[in-house]
Symmetry: C2
Subunit: 353 residues, 2 copies
């Protein structure tokens, strides 16, 4: 604590990301990265721009990237916002659409950055308890005084709401912004982008970190009606004129354009997930039905923390949350088939099978 | 205006950056970019990292880049903060050290993003008038109730304070943070980094955009005592875990390490600046004494707006501020010698010499 800190700084409770060990010999299943490299077309596009022009500012409007995203999502470019990872887009959205004193709703078990943003901006929030089976209780999100945010699929549970359920939440919050955080949508969920023409209070946030293998380049985006996007632009242009560097802009564009590669890799991950889920069930694990690139699992008898620690000793990193209601679970990112074989082998040893 | 905007969004007055025309045939002297490319070592370092590892998150702590900067500046790595351009570092600093209701001081003619940040966070501010000769009146910055921020050298004037003058401001604001924004320090000013061991209230902000030719990669940094840096980390970790992508991290490191290239290019720019300043004076321009990579100039009889417009017609972009007290000036970034020859030739035509 320092006397020079502002009141905001004193009261922040910063987010703690998953461990990022630098060793290349570990199997990294702890931060939901994609096990496959970015599209070769992405790497080629970046390389072409590594030249003297890096002395020049990037486009402050990111018009090219927005246009590409707009085409892909079937909206116009004024319905697209881009930012420095979906974390930045989320941070701008909390500031841009929510007001102190007007309670916002999000699930009690969810992306743990939400309460951090709320604290940063002095927002009141209600952490709506998930149902016993960890599903989002849709009715509990109706009529929020300040707005709603939830991930779909949710993290770390991996469970998805149907489009109908998302629409119910939108219908019952007509006067407030509903943010659907679709970081993991491409692994099996139904995107709410289809509802954008119908709901002016809908903001959909996505990222290229997961399904497009670009966590290292920090590219996030928001989709919604033009007024919401204009609101985000106002916040962004009051914060940093150029949030994406020249290489991130071109990487994002190339990644969205290479639809074949995207489909190929995400299908591989989905197939691996289903196969591993089945194997874990056969090993007496309770496995939540995942629509993401990770599994949220609990063994019948062996404690999760023990599994986490034993795996770590063997150089396999997964994520354990020491938090009420979920401390009996671990979250396991879907890696390559080879990585998951090693993981399953290690798990068998730990649980004594 | 949208009913979905927060009060903050409704009241923002976003910053407007200089034009970023995409044509490559223009001579771009309007946004203070470096006319020389980044060091070849920087381009090489980036290229080496354009590979499959871009699927992985960058280091959330940016430890390597911080260590490199710490060595260069002669501080320890806990005295270094890095961000997505110095604009982001400034945005975090306004939120991290200044409180609503406690008036902060900055010059009336200065980087026009400062009032934008202040509005974004609901801060009160006093725009302290520059003296008649556009110098910063040091005593007017004493005993600020909320803190102080000023660029040194100042922009768009280009004038620098001496280290003694900066120290006076620090001495008379012991209980509040004084931010010295040194975006242009490498072109002739005296850096306040030398004062960090002596003043715990000093935060120095620099950027790699100007003197290290990396505007396209968005790398800014802050230097100060450990408590101030910890405050910035708290804000950053409440906003975005990974603010610099993998390529920016390595570009920054390589750029700071290549001291020879840095010295060579900045000396070229300083030499060109001095030569052009003399030529402009010979053409009846009033030229402020610049310690930056730009000149702030006013002609004896020809209006600045006219000069700006006529140059633009010829594909030469400079910056004109339609603002009280400085609307008789234009700001001209120092380009290559060839670019400045073309500029001077065009100027001669416009003023009829």
């Amino acid at each position: 604590m320092s006397k020079f800190w502002s009141e905001v700084t004193k009261h922040t409770e910063p987010y703690v990301p998953g461990e990022q060990p630098q060793s290349t010999s570990i199997i990294k299943l702890n931060t939901n990265e994609n096990p496959y490299p970015p599209s070769p077309k992405v790497l080629k596009a970046i390389k072409q721009l590594v030249n003297g022009d890096l002395r020049l500012y990037p486009s402050p409007t990111a018009a090219d990237l927005k246009l590409t995203a707009a085409k892909y999502f079937g909206v116009n470019e004024k319905q697209v916002f881009v930012g420095n990872g979906s974390d930045e887009v989320l941070a701008f959205s909390f500031l841009g659409f929510f007001n102190p004193g007007e309670e916002i709703f999000f699930p009690d078990i969810t992306y743990s950055f939400y309460p951090v943003y709320a604290n940063l901006y002095g927002l009141n929030y209600r952490e709506v308890p998930l149902a016993e089976d960890f599903t989002i209780p849709v009715e509990q999100f109706f009529n929020s005084p300040g707005g709603v945010i939830f991930p779909n699929p949710n993290a770390p549970t991996g469970l998805a709401l149907s489009l109908d359920q998302v629409e119910q939440i939108l219908q019952h919050n007509r006067e407030k912004v509903v943010i659907v955080d679709e970081a993991y949508i491409d692994f099996g969920g139904e995107s709410a982008t289809a509802l954008i023409p119908k709901y002016e209070n809908l903001l959909v946030i996505q990222t290229l970190s997961k399904s497009r293998s670009l966590a290292g380049m920090r590219i996030g985006l928001a989709l919604g009606n033009e007024q919401l996007i204009e609101g985000l632009e106002r916040i962004k242009n009051s914060f940093n004129s150029y949030t994406l560097d020249r290489l991130a802009l071109v990487a994002g564009k190339a990644a969205i354009e290479d639809v074949n590669y995207f489909n190929e890799t995400r299908e591989k991950i989905i197939n691996t997930r289903e196969r591993v889920a089945k194997e874990l069930k056969d090993l007496s694990f309770h496995v939540l039905e995942s629509k993401t690139n990770f599994l949220f699992i609990r063994h019948g008898t062996v404690p999760s923390q023990l599994i986490y620690e034993k795996l770590k000793e063997q150089g396999i990193y997964i994520r354990y949350f020491n938090k009420n209601r979920i401390d009996q679970f671990v979250r396991v990112t879907i890696g390559t088939d080879e990585e998951m074989d090693t993981f399953i082998k290690a798990i068998k040893q730990i649980i004594g099978k």
